[in-house]
Symmetry: C2
Subunit: 135 residues, 2 copies
Amino acid sequence: MLSKKTKYGLKALTYLARRKDRSPVQIAEIARHENISQKFLESILLTLRKNGYLGSRKGKGGGYYLIKDPAEIPMTGVMRVLEGPIAMVPCVSLNFYETCDDCPDEATCSVHKLMLQVRDSALEVYRNNSLADII
Amino acid sequence: MLSKKTKYGLKALTYLARRKDRSPVQIAEIARHENISQKFLESILLTLRKNGYLGSRKGKGGGYYLIKDPAEIPMTGVMRVLEGPIAMVPCVSLNFYETCDDCPDEATCSVHKLMLQVRDSALEVYRNNSLADII
DNA sequence: GTAAACTCTAGTAAAAAGATAGGATAATAA
DNA sequence: TTATTATCCTATCTTTTTACTAGAGTTTAC
């Protein structure tokens, strides 16, 4: 299941990307338009900013804005920041690899074999979609 | 993340499929070989039996066994039984469809658009892999 | 009839998800 | 300078899900 965090994060990014100008937009405005709890959205936008997707300005007239061109933002990174690893098991993860402690051998593991394919297919989708593509 | 339930279920199915004969195998034997809590595995095998993947025999010499030829068992169904919907959001689910109450229009929803592609790519993997394929 | 093995219901502990509170900080405008 | 606005940040809380456990019941082989 996609977490609400990811869902809301994607909706917020989309909302910002759909605007013509890149002037700051208040959290409250995004929350209102996308039916998101404002406080929850606050924390999501914060992590998107810390990961280089958004810029922010405090005070009157402040808010969040996109830093990059939506066409230059592949979903791969966005999904990793919001949802975590793209792989469904750590032993097939590119960025968060870990061995399974309960599994003696990856080479013969059926779960490994299947999940490797699932990861690759998901990865291809995320790589082929930029923020601009899903608007 | 793939749940342990699914992981263990797949391992158990694999274990049974790798055997030459189809005589009953005790839960304890599977649990031991695959490093799974026996009681937990019990409940997993039960749901696999209720969904038509396994047969069972009680009493001495009893156990679980595969009902069908591994080549005739696509991962699609197994994953749905163990893990639930393949789609990451209900609004793109084939078998468990639900509208999002917070989303006014699916046609313009960026999350919908992206997750539809992810579902299709995952579905293709599961359709192209039978139990026999991942052994 | 007894031991072996699955069946079934219930329950529990830990972790994650989802959301909220409230003050700190910084920018703006008067 | 002061009041206002809006993000920043930490902490906490509730709910749901996950992973696992307990124990009594039922069926079968011998």
